[in-house]
Assembly symmetry: C2
Homo-oligomer: 211 residues x 2
DNA sequence: TTATTATATAGAACAGTGTTCAATATAATT
DNA sequence: AATTATATTGAACACTGTTCTATATAATAA
């Protein structure tokens, strides 16, 4: 019963490896065929194992998605943090964050849709941002709030008002992104106009406008 | 070969009746169980016919959805028109239109999701609003543009800029609605705060801010 | 080494999905 | 009354997610 530590660790690595194998196969299918076409059987075929094996490494299809979502979500948060720390002026920060957030999302449209349009509790635990108190529980909202607070106008503003503003920035930007993804065939020029217009309106309305 | 007109019309009515039967059954299932749980077989069971019969009245499941979408979409446009004609001040119009649009959407969450998150060409033909020229081809955008033009600030504004503003209002409002639907369990009070904040920001940024 | 136990993998099966096709019943027209 | 058109069904196909039982493989204990 005294299992050697080396073997235990190798086992764990092998399990991790198989799980990674399944996840990357799923990711490839999503990237090439879209989230709607992802199926357990297709993943199994891709890694050349039986479909039932997958249930040995993941509880169900949703758990696979959950892992992929988490990965994509971390990517997004990491981006926001990097922009935040690389920029000085708070207004610039928000502009740049919004801009690069949009571009990142548009580079992984299927993943973004999957993350943000999913309403399973597990995923909402990461992605929900509109509830009262989100600024302390959601990193993305927290970062936005922090930036807002650095703007003179919000120096003495109510925390709740700042949170609401951050939530609106988040939700509205989400809306623009999702519709740009859904309405495929919008040409790049138009996309850029929309993005710039949206950012300009955030600045006008939220940063310069009255509270 | 000379079919009596009366019978032909009765036949047509019967066909329409069966189609309506199928559509309302589908609508009931969507309302009670959500769009994800809608299936051809469930519709068939509800109207007590065999599943294959449905394909005698509709090409496929998508065509059924298409019809439901069109119905909901017309409801929305009708609302916008009624608000538009019942209000004088253009800023008020936009405020009220946005407000009642949001409330209508929240009253039919499953239908709204189905309309606005669908990317099939047939449905996009009604719902796409972000392309260059949408203000002349989409009634909803056209109404918004008309209101914007009545605001002093936009009197001499470029048509393209007005269209972009309308598109951003539309896309961002869509975003707020979808996230409120997806993040269920947000309490009413918070929902109302978000809605008011969003509308305020539209006014601040789009109506009062600089262009 | 052998026996035992844990893990990995596969195959078959269930219940569900959308859809098609051939057969039949019903109604309308000649 | 015979023929043609329409309405309706049942069976089948190819999918889907998932579960269960059986088996092969590897790790541990004796």
């Amino acid at each position: 019963m005294v299992t050697s530590l080396g073997i235990k660790e190798r086992k764990a690595r092998e399990v991790d490896h198989r799980r990674e194998l399944i996840l990357t196969a799923a990711e490839e299918i999503i990237s090439s065929e879209g989230i709607d076409k992802l199926s357990v059987r297709k993943i199994a075929a891709k890694i050349e194992y039986s479909p039932s094996l997958i249930y040995h490494y993941f509880k169900d299809k949703d758990e696979i998605l959950k892992h992929l979502m988490e990965k994509s979500y971390k990517k997004i948060v990491a981006l926001l943090i990097s922009v935040q720390s690389s920029t000085e002026d708070p207004t610039d920060k928000i502009r740049k964050m919004t801009e690069s957030y949009i571009h990142l999302a548009l580079q992984m449209p299927e993943q973004y849709k999957t993350i943000m349009l999913n309403s399973s509790p597990d995923i909402l635990a990461h992605t929900s941002v509109l509830f009262d108190g989100a600024s302390t529980k959601r990193q993305a909202v927290a970062i936005l709030c922090k930036c807002l607070k650095q703007i003179d106008k919000y120096k003495n503003a109510d925390d709740k008002q700042i949170e609401l503003t951050a939530q609106i920035i988040w939700a509205t930007t989400f809306g623009l992104i999702i519709r740009m993804i859904i309405e495929n065939e919008i040409d790049e020029k138009q996309k850029n106009l929309l993005i710039q217009h949206h950012i300009q309106h955030i600045e006008n309305g939220i940063i310069q406008g009255k509270t």
